[in-house]
């Protein structure tokens, strides 16, 4: 008892007072810049994104910071709007993936043996299915490619991964004696989920969501690159890369700029996820 008494306060204090994490801070700054730019584009961009007044493939200058594309549109404006699209896709896909994934995962965790096995097998198959291929199928099934079909596709692909994680985590929690105690004292199953399961699995899940956010951003770029994402003239980075492909020798900025934007956002999100894990997972912290 006395050892536990000493340990518990230390853990609690640490959890309440997160250590300063350099990865978390750098991640927060990188993502913060993209969020700020995305919000800014709702009110202001350097140029009208559809204005074709810039001249063909102008190099970067003080007038056009990242030059212009073939139609003479300001490239920096396109990159800025790309931030907004990337964040919308990431957030949308995570929201859909989380909603479907957590629900199915919990269902599997509580289900009878047969249903659980069936769900687990289905999830394994879904996970083995390439995300991009699944996304292509969803896009093909919907009426033409749009930003929303891309989000939906990525969300569905993600939900299988989230569901499997949720199922394992929830099962581990449900094995604990205090769940039996809680049930015996009259708590309903929904009550158990809200009071015990979700709070316990949340730290791990949230880290996973952050990682999935980054994957979704990359996957959307891939889809747009293939022409299955947001239709033009939505300035998705993937589509900008695709359009720059033919002019990569004469105007390399067209490929470099969306590349940098994509990399900074995804690195930022991954650092943020790492930082979240450091802060949110007490076992990891103690082990240091």
């Amino acid at each position: 008892m006395s050892a536990a008494d000493e340990l518990t306060p230390a853990v609690v204090t640490a959890a309440r007072k997160p250590r300063w994490s350099p990865t978390f801070t750098i991640g927060l700054i990188l993502v913060g810049i993209h969020v700020a730019i995305a919000l800014l584009t709702l009110f202001w961009t350097p140029y009208d994104p559809t204005s074709t007044t810039g001249g063909r493939l102008e190099p970067p200058s003080f007038i056009h910071w990242a030059g212009t594309d073939r139609l003479g549109r300001d490239f920096f404006t396109q990159i800025m709007i790309g931030s907004r699209i990337a964040l919308i896709v990431g957030a949308g896909a995570v929201a859909i993936g989380a909603a479907i994934g957590v629900t199915i995962g919990l269902l599997a965790a509580f289900a009878t043996r047969f249903l659980d096995d069936a769900l687990a097998a289905t999830l394994d198959i879904l996970i083995a299915f390439p995300t991009l291929l699944l996304a292509m199928l969803v896009v093909a099934a919907s009426e033409g490619a749009s930003l929303w079909s891309a989000i939906l596709a990525l969300g569905i692909a993600m939900s299988a991964i989230v569901a499997r994680l949720t199922r394992i985590l929830a099962k581990r929690v449900l094995q604990n004696d205090y769940i039996t105690a809680s049930r015996t004292s009259g708590t309903s199953w929904p009550g158990v989920v809200v009071r015990h399961v979700l709070p316990n699995i949340w730290p791990t899940l949230s880290v996973n969501f952050a990682l999935q956010f980054g994957i979704a951003v990359i996957a959307e770029s891939s889809l747009s690159y293939l022409g299955l994402g947001a239709p033009p003239p939505n300035a998705s980075w993937g589509r900008l890369l695709q359009e720059a492909q033919g002019t990569v020798y004469t105007a390399p900025i067209g490929a470099i700029a969306p590349g940098i934007a994509l990399v900074t956002l995804v690195i930022g999100i991954n650092l943020l996820a790492d930082g979240l894990r450091d802060i949110g997972d007490p076992t990891r912290r103690i082990s240091r």
Binding site: T52, G72, P232
Partner: protein, 511 residues
């Protein structure tokens, strides 16, 4: 059938081109660099390596082999009774002479004497009959099948004479016969082998890589100026350019964007030639549906788009503006750029007259490959200035074929039309764009039954003018045909009409 190959330009001949010997300016441009250096002391046994993106699916042009087979085999391995030259004229090849009856319904062709197939068999009238019947037969997937429909019978009174009877006059018969390969009627396998009369015979075909042609020593005509031609196939334009840069190939047959030219243009080791293609970038309306059934709306759209700026965006300094569907190499070309010039104010006025002062919204079905998505974005931004909202719907080439070409389920679309002499599409009210003007239908139909080419030209010129005045579609620009070669190589066709690439005149000097 004409459509399947004609329209899916991605798969078929995108680089139909034509020789521009006609314009003085162009002639000057051509001769400037390449021709002179290499022409004098060339190597008669040289091996010419040609880089191309269009590997044929098989070796038979009536079996859906794609444009690559025309590029490799037309007039190289196989010859027709006639040939469509790089300049766009029709000349006699295996037909040494022909006569037309007064009613225009009987054509009598006399064959070149002493012509042998590569297998050693002599050319006879029966081979010609066999070859024409092969193209119009039920198994044929030839895009030219329909244009040979007037043929009712083919007779062979002797080995040197072929008599073709028609159900109606067809002034384009010699032209259409230029698409018909003359093959040996005893040939067994034409999809992976050949038996033609051309200056080269097939040496080797390594699928996915190369197709080699060797000079035929028994050729009846003038000997080629090289010993061997090897087509090297690539799936990626960048790899193709790199092959030329590193010397793996001597000449590349079609350049897809002006930006890859930068590596070659100011480099003395290479020659860049610009020819005129027959590939037209088309913004086609569904003329059956509101609001595009109103000529004023179509004219307003034509005037609202700054095509000069668009062409510059896509092709830089290359390419040509055409005010209609007819490129300068067709005999019925007239400059119609002035019919609906770029003029935003008059576009707005026309829209107001048509009852669309506040504009409208439509969906533009856009094929997902270059240059269509970027063209669609330009159109969207231009039409926004006159109050029209464009929703861009990106589709695949296959979807284009089923949804638009077959089902006519669209409002407007973009497509590149590659074929030579294809104004006839506007004479077909059931064609995908649904343009139906009885006057044009009649002009195009009666042009084919003309008694003289002058009459045919006059009628098609009139049809051309009428579709332009009706703004039946919006003709954005004509693609350039750009061929790049090493500086010691010359004598290749610059226009590559219908994706042909005659190799027999290519000369390569020892550097």
């Amino acid at each position: 059938m004409i459509g399947a190959t004609a329209l899916l330009g991605k798969y078929s001949g995108r680089y139909g081109v034509r020789a521009l010997a006609v314009t003085a300016a162009f002639a000057g441009f051509l001769s400037a660099s390449s021709a002179l250096q290499a022409a004098e002391n060339y190597d008669v046994d040289a091996s010419i390596k040609i880089g191309s993106l269009y590997e044929p699916q098989n070796l038979d042009n009536i079996a859906g082999a794609g444009q690559g087979i025309n590029e490799a085999f037309n007039s190289n391995v196989y010859e027709g009774l006639f040939r469509l030259t790089d300049a766009g004229s029709v000349e006699k090849v295996l037909a040494s002479d022909y006569k037309v009856s007064d009613d225009g319904l009987t054509y009598t062709f006399t064959l070149q004497p002493n012509v042998k197939f590569h297998s050693g068999d002599p050319l006879t009238a029966k081979d010609v009959k066999f070859s024409i019947e092969r193209v119009v037969g039920p198994d044929s997937k030839s895009s030219r099948k329909k244009s040979l429909e007037p043929i009712t019978s083919i007779e062979t009174p002797d080995d040197n004479t072929v008599v073709v009877k028609l159900s109606s006059r067809s002034i384009s018969l010699p032209y259409n016969l230029s698409y018909v390969w003359i093959v040996n009627d005893a040939a067994k396998d034409l999809t992976s082998g050949e038996d033609g009369t051309g200056p080269y015979k097939l040496e080797d075909w390594r699928r996915g890589s190369t197709l080699s042609l060797k000079r035929s020593d028994s050729y009846w005509g003038e000997k080629p100026t090289n010993g061997e031609v090897v087509f090297n196939y690539f799936t990626d334009a960048t790899a193709l350019n790199n092959a030329l840069l590193t010397g793996a190939v001597d000449v590349i047959t079609g350049v897809q964007s002006p930006d890859s030219l930068a590596q070659f243009k100011d480099n003395a080791e290479f020659t860049v030639s610009e020819g005129k293609s027959t590939t037209k970038e088309l913004f086609a309306f569904n003329d059956r549906v509101e609001p595009f059934n109103d000529v004023k709306v179509r004219k307003a759209i034509a005037r609202a788009i700054d095509k000069k700026k668009l062409l510059n965006s896509i092709w830089g300094e290359y390419g040509t503006l055409i005010g209609s569907f007819v490129p300068p190499t067709d005999p019925w070309y007239v400059d119609l750029n002035g019919v609906d010039p770029y003029d935003v104010d008059s576009a707005k006025a026309l829209l107001a007259e048509a009852g669309h002062a506040d504009g409208f919204t439509f969906t533009l079905d856009t094929p997902n490959y270059d240059p269509h998505p970027i063209v669609a974005q330009f159109i969207k931004s231009e039409l926004a200035k006159v109050g029209i909202t464009v929703n861009i719907n990106v589709i695949t080439a296959n979807e284009w074929y089923t949804k638009i070409y077959k089902a006519h389920d669209f409002q407007a679309t973009l497509q590149e039309h590659v074929n030579h002499r294809d104004i006839v599409f506007y004479g077909n009210p059931d064609f995908y764009w649904g343009y139906n003007n009885p006057k044009v239908v009649d002009l195009i139909k009666s042009a084919e039954t003309s008694t003289t080419t002058d009459e045919q030209t006059a009628k098609l010129t009139e049809a051309n003018r009428t579709i332009a005045e009706d703004a039946a579609s919006s003709w954005l620009y004509l693609y350039p045909q750009i061929v790049i070669s090493k500086a010691n190589v010359s004598g290749y066709p610059v226009n590559g009409l219908n994706s042909q690439f005659f190799a027999y005149g290519i000369k390569k000097s020892a550097d």
